[in-house]
Amino acid sequence: MSDTLGTGAAAGRRSKGASGIGGAGESASPTPAPTPAPPRAAPRRRGRARMRFEIAVLSGPAIIMFLAFVIFPVALAAYYGFYRWHGYGAPTAWVGLNNYKLILTDSAFQQVLWHNGLILVLSLAVQGPLAITLALLLNQKIRGRSFIRVMIFVPYVISEVIVGTGWSLMLQSNGAVNDLLQHLGLGFLQAQWLSDPKLAIWALMAIISWKYIGFAVILMLAGLQSIPEELSEAAQIDGASYWQIQRRITLPLLGPTIRIWAFLSIIGSLQLFDLVYIIWGQYVSGTAGTSTMAIYMVAQGRSAGNYGYGSAVAVVMFLISLIVALLYQRFVLRRDLRGAVTEGGVR
C-alpha cells in the first residue's frame, strides 16, 4: 500500500505541476503515467516557474536561518581553529594544526574524552535494559497509564539547571541523601557524593539516568504501541509463554526504536555540558573527575579568552560526533533510516 500511495502521490503532483490546475482531473486517474505528456508547452513552463517560486518562498526562510546560524558557525569554528585568536578583530596569528596538536596531546583532554566515553557506554548499558523492561511492564492494559506516562516524563521535562540545582543540594555532604541514609540505618553508606573523585562520576551517572530514563521509556512505549497485537495473540494461541513472546516477537520488532534511542543517547553523551557545568562548574569538575569535552571547550576557550583554541576543540568534538554518527548509521541504523543523512531519505 505504501508504495502505491507514494508513487501515486508523486505522479499526481508531477502531472499537476506540468499542466496546472486545469490538469487536475487528469491527475486523478487511477494509474497516472510517471511523466504525463503536457498538452501545451507554455503552461507547463509557467507551472514550473510557479512551482520554483513556491518552493523558494516556502523553504527559503528556514534554509537561510539554518545555514546562517547552524552551518555557518560550524564552518567558522573550523576556520578559527587554525589561529591563535583572542576574540578581537580578525584572526591573524595562523598556527596551522598547532591547536589540534596541543588538544590531542593534552592529558586533560584525554581525560575528558575518557569521561565522555564512560558516560556513553554506561548510559546505554544502564538506561537501555531498564527502559525496555519498564516499557514492557507498563505497556500492559493497566489503569492510570496516562498518569504514569506524565509522571515518568517529569524529570525529562524540567530543565538541566533545576535538576542540577536540586541534586547538588540533595547530594551535599549534609544534604538529604546522606540524611536519608542515616535515618534508614545505612549511615555507613554516607559519602561525599559530589567531591570524592571516585564517586562523583557515578553520582553524575545516577543523575543522568534519572533525568533521561523517562524519555527512553516513553520512546519504547511509543514503539511498542506500533507493534500489532495480533502477532502476540497468534503466538499465545500457538502456546508461547509471555517471555518467549517478548524475546522472539516484541524485542525484534522494537529494534528500530531501540536503535534510534541509542543513537540519540550516544550523541547526547558526547555533548554533555549543562548538568556538569551547573553541579560542579568548570573548575571543580576537573578535580572531581566529571568534566566532559564540552566543559573543556568552554574552560579552555571562552573562559580563558582563547577563542581559536576553543574553536579547535569544538571541531574535534564535531568530528568525533560525526564519525560516531556515520559509523552508527552505516552499521546499525542502515535498515531503519535507509540513509536519511547519507543519501537523502526522502523517497
Binding site: 520554483r52 528556514a62 560550524v74 536540586g166 540524611d179 555533548q271 571547550m297 577563542y307 536519511a340
Partner: protein, 297 residues
C-alpha cells in the same frame, strides 16, 4: 515504511490511545506486580522533584537539622517573597518572550519547509532533507563559541533576539523530521479534491495542510516551547546583564547569590519549573502521539 507513517497519522488524529482503549470493553486491572513496579518507578522519578517543591515550604533551620524531612510547620514566606520579587517576574517575562517567539518561529518556518519537502518534487529535495537531518546530530553546544561570535557581530549580545534567532535555527531539524512524515501522510485525494475545487497549491497549504497537520504541529510546538524554556547554554553565552536573564540563568544566579538561604533557592527553583510542567502535562498526549509518528517514520 510510509504505510506505517500513514497509519500513525490517522492514529494520532484519533488520539494515541485509540487502539488500546477499545470503547465498550470494560478495562481490566492487570497484574499487581505491574502496579508495584510502576509506583516504585514513579516514586523514583518524582521524589527529587518533591524535595525541591516541599523544601520551599520549610525554613532553613528545618532544612539544616533534618534535610530529608517533610515541612513542619509549613511556611509560605519563601514562595511569597519569590512571587513578590521583581527579579523573578522579570526573568519569567524574558523566558516567556523567548519561548513564545522562538516556538512561533520554529513552527511557522518548519511547517513551510516541511510542506515543500513532503509534497513537492524537485532535484535538491534529498540534499535539503539531509541537511536538516544532519543538523539533528549537532546540538548547540558544539557551535556555541562561533555562534556567540556571529551573534556578537550582529550586535545582538544582551538582546533577547540574540537568543531567539539561533533557537529557531537549532529547533528546525527536529521539527522537519517530525513534520515531514505527517505532511506526507495527508492523502493525495484531498489535494486533488482541493485542486478540483479550484484551490492553488498554496491555497491547499493554508486551507487544508495547516488544519490537517495540527496534531503534528502541536507536538512540535510543545517540544520547541519546552526546549527553549529550558535552554541554558545559549542564554549563558549571549545574555550577560541580569536584566536580560531567562529563568534557567536566573535560577543559577539566585542559587549562588543566596547560597546560604537554601529554602528560598528551592522555592525559586520550583516556581521556575512550574510553567514547563503545566504546559507539558496539558499536552502530554500530543507529545507521545507525535513521537510515535516520528519513531515509526
Amino acid at each position: 515504511m510510509s504505510a506505517s507513517t500513514a497509519g500513525s497519522w490517522f492514529s494520532s488524529t484519533a488520539g494515541p490511545d485509540a487502539p488500546v482503549g477499545r470503547r465498550g470493553e470494560p478495562q481490566k486491572w492487570g497484574s499487581p506486580l505491574t502496579y508495584v513496579v510502576g509506583l516504585l518507578f514513579i516514586a523514583a522519578c518524582i521524589a527529587p522533584v518533591l524535595y525541591i517543591v516541599l523544601g520551599g515550604f520549610r525554613t532553613n533551620a528545618q532544612i539544616t537539622t533534618s534535610p530529608a524531612a517533610l515541612p513542619h510547620p509549613w511556611v509560605l514566606t519563601n514562595y511569597i517573597s519569590v512571587l513578590k520579587s521583581v527579579t523573578f517576574w522579570g526573568e519569567f517575562a524574558n523566558s516567556v518572550i523567548v519561548a513564545l517567539v522562538s516556538t512561533v518561529g520554529i513552527v511557522v518556518l518548519g511547517l513551510m519547509v516541511s510542506f515543500v519537502l513532503a509534497r513537492y518534487d524537485f532535484r535538491l529535495k534529498g540534499a535539503m532533507y539531509s541537511l536538516f537531518a544532519a543538523g539533528l546530530m549537532f546540538p548547540m553546544v558544539i557551535a556555541i563559541t562561533p555562534l556567540y561570535i556571529v551573534v556578537k557581530d550582529l550586535g545582538l549580545v544582551d538582546n533577547l533576539f540574540g537568543v531567539i534567532v539561533p533557537e529557531i535555527a537549532f529547533g528546525l531539524p527536529t521539527t522537519v523530521i517530525i513534520l515531514v512524515p505527517f505532511l506526507r501522510a495527508i492523502p493525495n485525494e484531498i489535494e486533488e479534491a482541493a485542486a478540483i475545487d479550484g484551490a492553488s497549491r498554496l491555497g491547499f497549504f493554508f486551507r487544508m495542510v495547516v488544519p490537517l497537520s495540527l496534531p503534528g504541529v502541536v507536538t512540535v510546538g510543545i517540544l520547541a516551547f519546552i526546549g527553549s524554556w529550558n535552554n541554558y547554554v545559549l542564554p549563558l553565552y549571549i545574555l550577560n546583564s541580569q536584566a536580560d536573564f531567562t529563568l534557567p540563568l536566573g535560577v543559577q544566579a539566585f542559587s549562588s547569590q543566596y547560597s546560604s538561604d537554601t529554602a528560598k533557592v528551592l522555592a525559586f527553583t520550583s516556581l521556575a519549573m512550574l510553567p514547563a510542567l503545566v504546559f507539558f502535562s496539558a499536552f502530554e498526549r500530543r507529545i507521545v502521539g507525535g513521537l510515535t509518528g516520528a519513531v515509526k517514520g
